[in-house]
Amino acid sequence: MINSQNDFNKLLLQGPLQVFLGLTYNCNLKCPHCYAKNKKNKYSLTLNQINKILQDLTKMGVFKIVLSHGENLLYPHFFKVLHNIKKYNFNCTLISNGCLINKDIARKLKNYNIDKVFISIDSAKAEKHDKYRGVSGLWNKATNALCFMNKIGIKTGCATTLTNLNYQEVEDIVNLAIKIGCKEISFLTLRTNQNINLELSNDQYRNVVNKIIFLKERLKNKINILTHDPLISIMVKNSNEYKDIWDRIIQENQCGAGKYFLSITPDGNMYPCNLLNNKLGNINDGISKIWQDSEEIKKLREIPTKCSDCKLVDLCQGGCRAFAYYKKSNKDPRCKKLII
């Protein structure tokens, strides 16, 4: 009686389940791996635009809004927007670099009923994180922000993008998150079309994924370790050892781009997810109309033709569309190289 989320149907055609919304591209950091760095400080949505977006998303039955793209705490009306998001009864997660979250802001976030806050943490070592992000003292601010929020009962998580600078310290980062009191840690696979020399080799990626899944099982009662790559379910060795968490591994790693995720950027444009650059349209064209009628988005909902005969397609659904997009391929080009 319970279906998987793989099939796109009428219930999903009504609207996405989760929308990544960027209020602003303003940011106070210069992170080399940032997917939005070319647009930094260029655009912000107006309050009127945001209210119209929230009304449209309510009509579409969207469950959750993830505030992302820029450092949204720099948006001058941030708390007014958060108030409206909660007024419309959305679940709301904020993704932040943490440097603006002092005790007062943490308390304010709690008072405005934020559901979850993810803070970017690139390393368990302060100097490494600060050097990578180009701001001295940032790691202390970010970890303090997490401590402030955990102390007053805001659910928090660390967001860590896996690069060749930090893949060897995933266990240390997980232990740091546990020590601080985070309930979740989200390991993001680096996706970019920019040559930034931070990518992991296939062997490095395969090994770190297996390490993360091992930790996910071992520490499941202490912290929820998340990954977001559809190929992970076909990369895990000895998957029978992870019976208890196997359904979750598959579900958490499904690609939701255009199926149940939508991204709305601070310039009002719409994309299937934060990491895909194929513009679907603009909010002025009608969010619902684009979600239902865009030819671009319809393509994403289909299994790539090259994958249709593969016996693993039920697990990976054709892989990550962002990797396929950047390599101008119909299917995820990493598939043959990462499969065990």
Binding site: Q5, L11, E252
Partner: protein
């Protein structure tokens, strides 16, 4: 699983309906899944007062079906819904 305790829907879920098909989002665990129309009908019967036994009885009368089959289907559904933290028992 308790057959005679009152069933309650979790506070951590949100529901989207289209006809009798239902999409459930567990925002605590960030998981969502779809229920087919039969499960949607059963979910509609959860009102904080009825137990699994009550629901089996209602369905057996309403659909004039085989009690044993209905009981098994309902049991399987609630076992999964409990695991997914959609329902709990009062």
């Amino acid at each position: 699983m308790y057959f005679n305790k009152k069933l309650v829907l979790s506070k951590n879920i949100k529901i989207r309906k289209n006809g009798q098909n239902v999409l459930v989002y567990n925002f605590k665990d960030d998981l969502f899944f779809e229920l087919n129309s039969s499960a949607g009908v059963i979910l509609d019967l959860i009102d904080g007062e009825k137990s699994i036994t009550d629901i089996i009885s209602i369905l057996t009368k309403e659909y004039n079906g085989d009690e044993k089959t209905i009981k098994q289907d309902v049991k399987d559904l609630f076992r999964r819904l409990e695991k997914l933290k959609v329902v709990s028992f009062n």
